[in-house]
Symmetry: C2
Subunit: 229 residues, 2 copies
DNA sequence: TCAAAAGTGTTCTTGATACACCCATGC
DNA sequence: GCATGGGTGTATCAAGAACACTTTTGA
């Protein structure tokens, strides 16, 4: 079946910048292209939007198909519409960014997506199309948003230590933070619940584990509370 | 000429939320639809993206065609891609928002766009499609952005008084501001240049006129300066 | 002389920053 | 017993918030 239109139409795609956090580093998930153009090059997961699915649905579907990731935090980022960003034809891409808990998804993704690989954000390979621009925009968004919305927890396991949280913020913001001030502030919100467990990890004092209380955050937000790091 | 594609494609449009400021009120420019669907209803200016123009170009072209506005501040907002947002077929719309100096553009727009009209943001009519959602998103963006970027000046004439500026911020943020604190802070940036002129407006003390020094702002920004109201 | 908006400083409170030592564990 | 990261409090400084009266003009 073919479809006729009076005027030529741009093709519409979605692309996803998937962030993960591991070994105190911020990472991005890339896939190696199997087809031309840019065959063999690294690129963002993504693909064409079907005519009967929302943009969000399209992004989640492509993410599942190409990387095996499901149920992740996903948000629209920006729409890239330069005329010649794809050498084949006019393609407009609605870029998204996703945050995944690497500890959960690591194994799964490895099996479903043989040609997917995590790269430290500071050591990305050359990317296909204008995907380097998209990654830059996503990083800027993440750096901005993490300051006033508690989205960082999407990158950590459900139970985490304050040091892990601090290292996450340091990795995202690319800046060192004072340990005492960080703990004072982040505990001051009353959104981190200490667990009875501790993390025994190596030859030093075990660390208190916390979980983020998302319900409490939602309630506070409705009453005008403002998370701000 | 007709265009054949293997898969059905969404149509791609741009829509613009145009903000203006007049009589201490924030206003939005709407056009009355001449054609079905929603014939006679008020809607955002916008239209189809051509295959050889960027999204930004498309938004500016539609704005000029439908409202006579040119050389305005324009930024991409969000892309709306719900499946049934247009009753005719699948239409994905890249929404933008624009800020115009009403004093400059008022007369011009009135002639070029007979069916365009400014509405106070608090008294908008029912809008076609999902345009009410788009306006809400644009207002939220404006409220957020005006706090940390000096975009408010795009809504004021080149020469303005501090009271005008304060009323603008109050209208956008929907909150009252303390006069002395506002002036202290905004003058503290050193980006408002007092002019030799004053504004004689009615039976009260004349007000000092200022202009915003955009060049100085750009230089400061490069050195890490942060505008924050 | 009155109404109406312009203009101007100080005090208090709050949040941000800077900073150094003891603790619990594994080797 | 020592190396490693975990955990804690205070003093200083800067920015934000609250607040009331005088000035200049036109009618």
């Amino acid at each position: 079946m073919a479809y006729n239109y009076q005027y030529p139409r741009a093709a519409l795609t979605v692309d996803c910048v998937v962030f993960g956090f591991d070994e105190s580093e911020l990472k991005v998930l890339l896939i190696q292209r199997a087809l031309d153009p840019f065959k063999g090059k690294w690129a963002l997961p993504g693909g064409f939007v079907r005519v009967d699915e929302t943009l969000d649905d399209a992004a989640r579907r492509e993410l599942a198909e190409e990387t095996g990731l499901e149920n992740v935090f996903l948000e629209q980022l920006y729409t890239f519409g330069t005329v010649n960003r794809d050498p084949r034809e006019r393609v407009v891409s609605v870029a998204h960014y996703a945050l995944v808990k690497l500890t959960d998804h690591k194994a799964k993704a490895a099996t479903d997506a043989a040609n997917a690989q995590w790269f430290p954000i500071s050591k990305l390979p050359k990317l296909a199309f204008d995907h380097a621009d998209i990654v830059a925009a996503a990083l800027a968004r993440l750096q901005g948003k993490v300051r006033y919305q508690p989205i960082g927890f999407e990158l950590l396991p459900p139970k985490f230590t304050l040091s892990e949280l601090q290292h996450l913020y340091e990795a995202i913001l690319e800046a060192g933070l004072d340990k005492r001030n960080f703990r004072k502030k982040v505990l001051g919100f009353g959104l981190l619940m200490p667990l009875k467990e501790t993390q025994m990890a190596g030859r030093h004092r075990p660390a208190q584990l916390f979980r983020f209380d998302a319900d409490k955050y939602e309630k506070l937000k409705k009453r005008g509370f403002n998370f701000e790091l």
